[in-house]
Amino acid sequence: MTNIIEARGLVYIYPNGTSALNNLSLAIKKGQRIALLGANGAGKSTLLLHLNGILRPKKGSIVFQGQAVDYRHRSLLALRKNVGIVFQEPDNQLFTANVLHDITFGPLNLGLTREMALAKSRKAMRETETVSLENKPTHFLSFGQKKRVAIAGVLAMEPQVIIFDEPTAGLDPKMALKIMDLLHQLSEQGKTLIISTHDVDLAYSWADYVYFIKEGSIAGEGTPQELFLRQDLLTACDLYCPWIIEIYRAMINTGLANQNQQVPANKNELLKLINESPVRFNTQRIKAIHNCLG
């Protein structure tokens, strides 16, 4: 499979002298579900702004479908048409009081006719369940509703790659789950998705490839099942261990599972592992697990 978007040796320094990206490279394949993980201030948002051509690296380049972005008007528009970004703060993204006006903004900028733009917007509104919000002013919407309108505004442009900067930050668990469901749907439609997060559990069970970012460069990359097993790396990047891995470790330590078995990729696989475990639970084992988990 070919890389849809690549970052090669990005270096970025903010005008105030903060060095935010430090020779950072990554290559993302079409249709992947990517999670970028890192502590606050690691440089995730800065990286994402580069992938959509908003920030221009001091050194290095962004390559989209094999072509380096040259930052001229034309090539920027082409990049932004294909790489959509949903910002962390919906209030920064919604620029008008009218929901429909905001959602049709992108498609109209692409030069679509009014009818086409409306059709795509309505489709995006159905996918994000914002149809009923059409006639409400944005300042009377809840945070979750604003977030969904912001997502609809990006989906309506039908980009191939969609970036979500901290998609679940500030949402209640139910709304967060809904957004993750939407991400699954989008992935099934063949979109390439990139999210930034510091929620290890979310990244672990959602992503098929993860990058750990530390101080503006990649500290590690791989499938979640291999990368999250490296405790030293997690500690270095100020990340916690996902609970699925913790349980899996405890099961190995207590003899409920053995090292040769595949690392469970999500909750269901973990439950399966428990059910198929040759050893039955008894009070002693449960005590042992308790001790293991501290």
Binding site: R80, F87, T96, L100, R114, F140
Partner: protein
């Protein structure tokens, strides 16, 4: 502010074409400003009150409160305009002596004052009609159709949106300050208010960059395309508006003795 905005989106006239409401507003306010007669002004005030309370369904108590706001300012302003200070007392219909001077009204100044007061109140009620029945984004779309320069249209769009963002942030900062007793007395109050203003400035500065980034990310190239709704004018409503305003014009010209 917020409540006016609430009614703009939730009133019985919200589905009426914004162009019709703007037409009604424009015709009536020009009548009110051009015809100097008490009858015309009273008729406009009555007409708008009827349209706002009966047709749009805005609670009359709320509308009364809204009218009292400019009403109070107008009374104070108009009274100072009406008063004359002279040495001669003839011609004054009411006065108090101030040493060698007399402070009072002439019948002419009284007339002019009452006229001005009612005319202003009439115009204000026209403005209230528009802002209580028509969401800002629809007014903006009418402006765009009228070929108002794009800069004005876009500024209006952004300003209207970010008034509410700023209000929300200011509200949060204010609550956070109050929780730590920032407003417990006058001096801490002034201090906190100063900090609030400064933090709003900094916030706006940082946010403006973020907003611009978000616009650019969706291929913003310097103009905001609008999706105009293609609701068509209802001929019945337009005729009704023309009839009502025509009646108003002839009636008040007649009552004013001009016809």
């Amino acid at each position: 502010m917020l409540l006016i905005d609430h009614y703009a989106y939730n009133n019985k006239l919200v589905s009426v074409h914004p162009g019709e409401k703007c037409l009604f507003f424009a015709l009536t306010i020009s009548l009110c400003l051009s015809i100097t007669s008490v009858v015309a002004s009273l008729a406009v005030i009555g007409l708008m009150a009827g349209a706002i309370v009966l047709l749009a369904g805005v609670p009359w108590r709320f509308y009364l409160k809204l009218m009292l706001l400019p009403g109070a300012f107008l009374i104070v302003g108009v009274i100072t305009l009406m008063l004359t200070l002279t040495r001669e007392q003839q011609g004054l219909i009411w006065f108090t002596g101030l040493g060698p001077y007399a402070l009072g009204f002439t019948s002419h100044s009284l007339d002019a004052g009452v006229n001005l007061f009612l005319r202003s109140l009439g115009s204000v009620s026209c403005l209230y009609f528009l802002s209580l029945t028509t969401p800002m984004s629809e007014i903006v779309s009418v402006l765009r159709k009228l070929r108002v320069p794009a800069l004005v249209v876009e500024l209006t769009t952004f300003i209207y949106r970010f008034i509410f963002v700023l209000l929300e942030v200011a509200g949060k900062v204010y609550v956070a300050q109050s929780c730590r007793l920032g407003y417990k007395n006058l001096s801490t109050g002034f201090n906190s208010l100063g900090r609030l203003v400064v933090s709003m400035f900094l916030n706006s500065y940082v946010n403006s960059q973020n907003v611009y980034n978000a616009l650019v990310a969706r291929c913003y190239t310097g103009n905001l395309p609008g999706v105009e709704d293609n609701r068509s004018f209802s001929r019945r409503n337009v005729l009704l508006i023309l009839a009502v305003d025509g009646l108003l014009a002839t009636g008040s010209l007649y009552a004013g003795g001009i016809l």
